[in-house]
Symmetry: C2
Subunit: 207 residues, 2 copies
């Protein structure tokens, strides 16, 4: 294939999965990446049964749904994947991913580590980024500071996060989200996306 043919070929939109342990800052970083190039990225909003945290907006950060509504979505096979995360359900409505891919933009999803593993099986050509802290200790500090959980919930969350940290090898890329240096992590993710668009072999995303 000549470069002239390459130019004529449709450049594939990418599907980027931003994952990592609870407390690492997935929401903040995914949002900041999109804010850098709002016209280039499509953010897939996850449905969850957990209550909103301060400042979170329905339909923007998450779809906050009742347990009954979530059960209905499961029953009607409307979710790409779902998981119980610390007693709350989280899942990705298929319809949103289809809309996202149809937009022609790069699609960004913020998914917990369990969900990322499921997506890897369903959509092999997605790019998986593992967001991490500079150390496990720092992660525990961040989870402890959040104070939105009961002590029991917090202990469960810390134990789970430690397990999640060990799953980094399942991912394509890892990016450190240093405390108070979000911009660095955002730039690394933008580089990963930019580089992926420069690959000679571009695999289409099929759902």
């Amino acid at each position: 294939m000549s470069t002239d043919e390459l130019y004529q070929r449709h450049i594939q939109p990418l599907l980027i999965v931003i994952s990592g342990p609870s407390g690492v800052g997935k929401d903040t970083i995914a949002r900041a990446v999109i804010d850098e190039r709002p016209d280039s990225f499509y953010f897939v909003v996850t449905a969850t049964t957990r209550p909103p945290r301060a400042g979170e907006v329905h339909g923007v950060d998450y779809y906050f749904v009742s347990n009954d509504e979530f059960a209905r979505m499961i029953d009607e096979n409307e979710l790409l994947e779902y998981a119980v995360v610390y007693n709350d359900f989280k899942g990705i409505p298929k319809q949103h991913i289809r809309e996202a891919l149809a937009s022609g933009k790069d699609v960004i999803m913020r998914v917990d580590v369990q969900g990322a593993a499921t997506i890897r099986k369903l959509i092999p050509n997605a790019i998986h980024v593992f967001l991490t802290t500079e150390s496990e200790e720092e992660l525990v500090t961040r989870l402890t500071k959040r104070k939105s959980e009961t002590p029991e919930d917090l202990n469960l969350r810390i134990a789970t996060a430690r397990q999640e940290m060990k799953r980094i090898q399942e991912f394509d890329y890892w990016v450190v989200n240093r405390a108070s240096q979000h911009e660095e992590a955002v730039q690394h993710i933008l580089s990963i996306i930019d580089a992926a668009h420069c690959r000679v072999v571009q695999a289409p995303i099929v759902l």
Copy 2:
């Protein structure tokens, strides 16, 4: 492997091969990439028997050597690879690559398409970037403008460049060096390098 173990692991320097057809601007772009982060990159200087072009400095842009000296380097197995490019010899002294890799910096090489194919066999973990123009026509225009060749040399160079353009599929990445927009190509290459450092699986460069 946990992230803590990953941090402790030595982050491998990369070997980046910037290649592409004659006239595409490999020299300019490779230099501009290095100028962006001179402390992070090590530039491997190629030996050549062709005479210097205006502004080219011995030991910085190329090692300009006589045919006899080049023949000696071949005889004494001092070159990683060498090729005849438009009646001139070009080759990469092994010693320079060893020094480059020992520096701990990312190593950048500017190599013609033939040389890149040889390096791919010798050093499988190198990252190969194919620099191209926005069209074959633009490449011909640039070669014609250069006016440093005889008409016969120019025709040979154009024919070869057209063949080289077809070899893009051998490369990992492709980057368009648009006329008067070098900065864009430089930024793409910096993204490719940045992303490669974020890969979870990092393969060592062995020579």
